[in-house]
């Protein structure tokens, strides 16, 4: 394989990987703080894509502009799911560590309800933002780069950087980190733990709100799209280290570049089997992931 194709593959992998990472950010954040694996992660993205679609289709709203609706809407939904559905579980088991398995089952329930409610409400048809909406493709060194994907990939870096900075330098961010590290100690420091949990869940989902708006212009939208991204996100965050913000981006890029380069040598199917094998090996031998601390 010549150098051009290889560098092309790497560029493709970087773009797609960064988008994977951006989509997975919320999953990692929520796990890091609440120790809850949100099985419904992809469903939130799916819903956010639909919001962007409907805003565009009904009101002609620019999809990038619809982020202004998506972000608060997904925040509110995430906040609600946490405080209405998951909080009672945490409360019931307050004497012990939050049981990750029951939380997983709960979010699996949320996944079933959201995906199929979307199917009932929107029907199974594939939708896509139409034609007219178009960001030009730029060509760098002979390699065409989709403008829309580039924007989404850059946003992934920006959001990851922004969240990391915010976690470090704001009062709420510090409170979130403190709660993640020691829930009881955080409560004893005057932090309202249940509100931090709900905020975190909301924040994690609002990132999906943003990415829904960013990828809606180039991704066909159907109720099933959530699971595709959901499973990818699990792989990405486990690879990068569950709970790590930078890990999500790193994991995304590793998977993106791995699949891009590998699929030049073998079929894309074998490459996706390869990424699953990688995922299992990481879980068994390095469960903290690439960026996680032992």
């Amino acid at each position: 394989m010549d150098a051009f194709i290889l560098s092309y593959a790497v560029v493709n992998g970087l773009l797609q990987g960064a988008i994977y990472g951006g989509v997975a950010l919320g999953l990692s954040l929520i796990f890091g703080v609440l120790r809850v694996v949100n099985f419904a992660h992809g469903s939130f993205l799916m819903l956010s894509l639909y919001i962007s679609f409907w805003c565009w289709s009904l009101f002609g709203m620019d999809p990038y502009l619809s982020a202004l609706i998506n972000i608060p809407a997904m925040f509110a939904l995430g906040y609600m799911v946490q405080s209405v559905i998951i909080a009672p579980l945490i409360k019931r088991e307050s004497a012990m560590v939050v049981e990750p398995l029951s939380a997983l089952l709960l979010t699996a329930g949320v996944f079933l309800v959201m995906d199929n409610a979307a199917l009932m409400a929107f029907g199974p048809d594939v939708r896509a933002l139409q034609a007219g909406y178009y960001v030009p493709t730029i060509v760098v060194g002979g390699i065409p780069i989709s403008g829309q994907r580039l924007i989404a990939a850059l946003a992934a870096f920006a959001v990851a950087g922004g969240i990391s900075y915010w976690l470090r330098h704001s009062d709420m961010g510090r409170a979130i980190r403190a709660t993640a590290q020691n829930r009881d100690a955080a409560a004893m420091s005057g932090i309202n733990v249940s509100s931090v949990y709900a905020m975190t869940f909301g924040l994690g989902c609002s990132v999906l709100g943003l990415f829904g708006a960013l990828i809606a212009p180039f991704l066909p939208i159907s109720p099933a799209i959530g699971l595709a991204f959901g499973i990818k996100s699990f792989i990405v965050v486990v690879l990068g280290g569950l709970g790590s913000i930078s890990g999500a981006i790193v994991g995304g890029i590793v998977i993106g570049v791995f699949e891009a380069v590998a699929s030049q040598f073998v079929t894309a199917t074998s490459a996706s089997i390869g990424s699953l094998v990688l995922f299992i090996l990481i879980l068994i031998f390095r469960p903290q992931g690439i960026m996680g601390r032992a």
Binding site: Q181, D184, A187, M188, G190, S194
Partner: protein, 238 residues
């Protein structure tokens, strides 16, 4: 007699269907140091957790400066002025010392005075100032204990509860810490302290309660208890 800063009446609490505290009455006068001593599992930590709101209060009353705080959410209790420096190393290990301290001042009441309070804490524990940017998890046991106390002070407590501050510390560190605690009492602050290192703590305490099996079995001034042969026998079985 001045009204007490903290008063508990008939406090009952426990885990699941097990009752650990069977009616605890304690009183903290202003600017006092009160010690709570007793064997492992006697319920000392449970009492602190109950006052802090981490465990549900099953019966009884807890008043802080006359305000009922029993059954409040933990952050509300901190806001009201009861702050606990928890047992062991319950810090935020991946955060720096400064960040730990800043989180300590998370409550609305304390946040405004954060910078000044931090200066005061640094004055009290200069070592924390020197290592301000170090991650808490990488510090020695004694430094962590100081940070825990410092973090509690950041919340501008009216009552500071210390859970086994000397646990696992070398004797020299214990003495230093106790000195600092002595200094803290001169601020407008009451201290409720739980200790196994009973002799040192009794020397410094104005009043002490002995907790056994979730009940107060003995109380008195520090020196009274120090002189009590019964206490020695409870502890040493002699």
């Amino acid at each position: 007699m001045t009204s007490p800063v903290l008063e508990t009446v008939g406090v009952r609490a426990g885990y699941g269907d097990i009752e650990i505290l069977r009616g605890i009455d304690i009183v903290l006068p202003p600017k006092s140091i009160v010690a709570l001593i007793g064997a492992n599992g006697a319920g000392k930590t449970t009492l602190l957790k109950t006052i802090s709101g981490l465990l549900p209060l099953r019966a009884g009353k807890i008043a802080l400066n006359g305000e009922q705080i029993g059954g409040m959410m933990p952050h509300k209790v901190v806001e009201a002025g009861f702050v606990q420096s928890p047992e062991g190393k319950q810090l935020f290990p991946d955060m720096t010392i400064v960040e730990n301290l800043m989180v300590g001042a998370h409550s609305k009441r304390a946040r405004g005075r954060r910078e000044e309070t931090m200066e005061e804490v640094f004055e009290l524990f200069p070592i924390l100032h020197e290592r301000a940017k170090q991650r808490a998890g990488t510090m020695s046991g004694g430094q962590q204990q100081m940070l825990a106390v410092g973090r509690a002070l950041m919340a501008l407590p009216r009552v500071l509860a210390l859970d086994e501050p000397s646990l696992g510390l070398a004797p020299i560190m214990v003495s230093r810490l106790m000195d600092s605690i002595e200094k803290v009492r001169h601020r407008d602050l009451s201290i409720l302290i739980i200790e196994q290192n009973i002799f040192q703590v009794l020397k410094m305490a104005d009043h002490a309660y002995v907790l056994e099996n979730g009940e107060i079995t003995k109380q008195g001034s520090g020196s009274e208890l120090l002189a009590d042969p019964h206490l020695r026998s409870t502890y040493l079985g002699l």
